[in-house]
Assembly symmetry: C2
Homo-oligomer: 569 residues x 2
């Protein structure tokens, strides 16, 4: 057995860039990309990526060099997910919702050789470049703009822009051979900065191997069949579009690109291109609910929606499913290269009432096949929690689709990998049926009188109250209990337009809401304060900024304390 050496034929590094070559050979007539009037087939996308990679090699981009990009979900962004690693480099997609200071911090840390910028972000980019030039970071940065509408027309290239690189690229056979023969599957493919809300963002380095395994896993988890039509609602800069940049190529799918995520754009594209699949964070459900429902009479099936980023409130899932979307809930992390838990539908759930179905659907679910193990452990003892659906612990995992680590941050990397597991920092339980449910981020847990309160659990109850559009529950200091829940609530628009008597209404409504919670939750879990806002503070990814809310909550006084004080007075 030991004499069988590995060779070129039976030991090929795993990388998702092979999906591109395969798609061009296996699906030669299929549309790879749709974007407005632009259409590409898989052989065209293959050729464009080879040309771009050849240009990058000619520009002396070498192994492990970083190539940053600031762009919305346009074809160039999709192509770079292949072309940049094909040149041996590491793609660094930057969140377009960040401000100039944050982007500058990322560039200073990532030290890219090239910075691709979509023309629409030129003002923001100029601010960034100004900030960069003002300090002494000797960043030798080549800036290349991506222009809209120029795809087919431009013939001569005066300035170096994206289309020009594609035209100039000469994918010679030796270049192409090199592009599809990576040296080590553990080599980095992408560098994604997490939207750290507390400290400086951390650069997550993911590998070819991890991206490959995660891509296959999400296809299986979602049961995504051959040749899907995938709508790009989820930003590609967000964890490489949860690896669907690569997974759609693996499936010979069509990527419908969109510059702006609005209800009319989404509905128009779904109808026009017979979209079958899309991903989004639950906040996009609110966008969908504001638009028209899908006309299902012209469709052979629903649009499959993968949602994650935060637990989708059961009530919201129910509403959006009625519009013609089939929701599957996943849980993922940038550090895990993408989604890692899929809430697989179980046949026996079909017999349950709708409300219960939606609650089961809101759980995070079962481990993907690409991971070796997922567990929930007591943070102190490092023992697995019982599978009782009650005992909370930290969700931990191991497997080859976990990140290589945080770039130039050995301390954070060490912390993340302590005890031989990747420690997510998320708190959850395991139900007797094997499904994992997240109760909170470690730091979002509210500890009241020594009892752990899952803010998510309180939020789920609030979401069921009529006219509640969005809510977030955080800890508020309490003289007796240490902490107590404070709820921030956004009401549906119709509830806030009538200015007269609004303040009074709010006071009554706060009492009503707290009363309602007491009927539906253990007393200690009920918010003692409800604050009504026009909208919740969110970060660039649409995640609610709980630290900001905690800051506000620090200055508030609980309802029962008000009563105590007035009695004292």
């Amino acid at each position: 057995m030991d004499n069988l050496d590995l060779c070129e034929a039976n030991n090929v590094p795993l990388t998702p860039i092979t999906f591109l070559k395969r798609a061009s050979e296996c699906y030669p007539n299929r549309t790879s990309i749709i974007y407005g009037q632009t259409r590409f087939t898989w052989p065209q996308t293959y050729e464009r990526c080879c040309r771009l990679a050849a240009s990058l090699i000619t520009l002396n981009i070498a192994k492990n060099d970083v190539v940053s990009v600031l762009a919305p979900n346009i074809p160039a962004m999709y192509e770079m997910h292949f072309a940049v690693p094909m040149a041996g480099a590491v793609l660094n997609p930057i969140n377009t919702r960040l401000d100039a200071t944050s982007i500058t911090a990322i560039l200073r840390h990532a030290k890219p050789k090239i910075f691709f910028i979509d023309r629409s972000f030129q003002p923001l980019a100029q601010e960034v470049l100004h900030l960069l030039s003002s300090d002494n970071s000797n960043l030798n940065l080549l800036v290349i703009f991506i222009d809209e509408n120029d795809y087919p027309k431009r013939v001569s290239c005066d300035e170096l822009d994206y289309e020009c690189l594609i035209q100039r690229g000469e994918p010679t056979p030796s270049f192409v051979a090199r592009m599809f023969r990576i040296q080590d599957e553990h080599d980095p493919i992408s560098l994604n900065y997490t939207s750290g809300t507390t400290a400086d963002p951390k650069g997550v380095v993911i590998s070819h191997r991890g991206a490959y395994l995660c891509s296959l896993s999400v296809i299986i988890g979602w049961e995504m069949g051959t040749c899907p039509v995938y709508l790009w609602t989820l930003p590609m800069f967000h964890c490489n579009g949860w690896t669907f940049t690569w997974a759609t190529a693996a499936r010979g799918g069509t990527s419908v690109c969109m510059r702006h995520v609005t209800a009319p754009e989404i509905y128009k594209n779904i109808v026009m291109h017979s979209v079958t699949h899309m991903c989004c964070v639950p906040t996009v459900f609110n966008i969908l609910l504001k638009g028209n429902s899908l006309d299902l009479s012209h469709r052979s099936g629903p649009v499959h929606v993968l949602t994650g980023g935060s637990p989708p409130p059961a009530a919201l899932v129910k509403k959006v499913q009625r519009l013609g979307f089939q929701v599957m809930h996943v849980y993922g992390l940038t550090e895990a290269t993408g989604p890692v838990l899929f809430c697989e539908w179980q046949d026996e759930w079909n017999r349950l009432p709708e409300n219960q179905q939606m609650e089961l659907k809101a759980r995070q679910g079962l481990s993907i096949l690409g991971l070796a193990e997922v567990d929930v452990k007591n943070k102190e003892t490092q023992e697995s929690v019982p599978r009782d659906g009650k005992t909370m612990g930290e969700i931990v995992m191991k497997g080859s689709s976990i990140m290589k680590g945080y770039l130039k941050n050995p301390k954070a990397t060490f912390e993340a990998f302590k005890h031989g597991w990747f420690n997510t920092g998320d708190v959850g339980v395991i139900h007797p049926d094997g499904h994992i449910e997240i109760k909170d981020r470690s730091k979002d847990i509210i500890i009241s009188g020594g009892e752990n309160i899952s803010s998510v659990e309180v939020e789920n109850v609030l979401y069921k109250y009529p006219k509640v559009l969005e809510t977030a529950v955080v800890a508020m200091p309490h003289p007796m209990w240490g902490e107590t829940p404070c709820a921030f609530v956004v009401l549906e628009k119709s509830e806030t337009t009538n200015k007269e008597g609004r303040e009074d209404k709010y006071v009554t409504r706060e009492r009503n809401l707290i009363e309602y919670c007491r009927e539906n939750l253990p007393h200690f879990m009920c918010p003692r304060k409800v604050v009504f806002l026009e909208e919740l503070p969110k970060n660039g990814n649409g995640k609610i900024l709980k630290p900001k809310l905690r800051d506000i909550a620090k200055g508030l006084v609980a309802e029962d304390e008000v009563n105590v004080r007035s009695k004292v007075v």
Copy 2:
């Protein structure tokens, strides 16, 4: 980037045995195995496998030791696909249709430490053991019998049998930790002997990594959803059941085991357990056609059938689909760990007439995602053939699911991996739509007057002729053309029962068949001789033995020669 070391959390060897642990955790209430009155859940199968592996470790089974097994599709056979590699050993499933001499040759070559034998094969096994003892192969073989019906009852263990090993096994935490932590994903997991028809069988060594990747690939290729009910018509000894031993665990599926593959058993199990999936070679279609059709009125969908081993004649696919089976065609090799080409259904085929659909379905199809590359190359120049659906070449492939090599056979291993590819020895074409179609085994190609004739192509035409049940076309020597096709044909039973005038009928029928071929094929491709047989000679896997037919053909005279000779006389 270079400072990010791999660690326990982010670098776990790929192995399909993780599927078992995951299934026991994610699908705790689901049935893993059904066999007659026997039922196991996934946690039970997990425990049984851990116990068996612990027993094997206690019996001093160590890394790379071979464990052979001679058994039909019973639960023990399924369990050993996990338990044996969990003990660090290599599973060697032996074809139960082989004779004692062939099995002895395999054991002499594989040198197993343990030989598990299903009690029904005791006479055959005793013959084997007798042959082994008669020579001086100092094979220190521990024989363990697998007994039927004893599963739940036996309490004390006097002799060492399979159930006894499971009862005795003590899966201590340190044993279990070791079972699920393999050292190197390139380590061998299984040793499968190919049914070489010409020379001694070759022992194909496949790796944990290959088995893992192939399992994920077949799930994706077949679009196998969660929790399938899988009927074991395909022998597990045949290339590990095309990796579905492992893939069903990955999907939390139920394995319906069957000792004998007969039409009544198949239909009974399908109805009783709501079977959703099964695999078989096309010859099983003939078994299905002899039985009743499925009563689809009680089913929510068809039974998905994966077929391969030899190209399924379009006419046969059409017939079996009408019975309620949904056929997908794959092409695989033991050397590639399982299926490697999947004939993915393309939406636009829906608009074509049924006959054309069946012909498209009979093509081998598109590369699985687990392979890095598949190509068809000119054997002389090593250049890729044009994608014209006409130019023939050898099908070659590379990727991590290709075998490690042939055990103790460096010459055959070297030949197989020449030019940096795995050379399949199969001759095919690539169609403009990217689908690969096999025209023949290299050695089955008929060369007539310098023209290559695909025997499969002639067979496909013959299959469409009324009352033709089975056929095989081989080369027959010809004084003018070198070789010419000779067809062997089995007619449906009704055609052969009337003994009177049968010989005359055959003569007329031969003329008619040749005439029919001339109307449907280029003249040089038409058989010049048709021989009617009661049945075709087949090997242990149900593959038609073309070398035997070639031997018969050598002694025959072509039709046109008869005419020439009679004129001369």
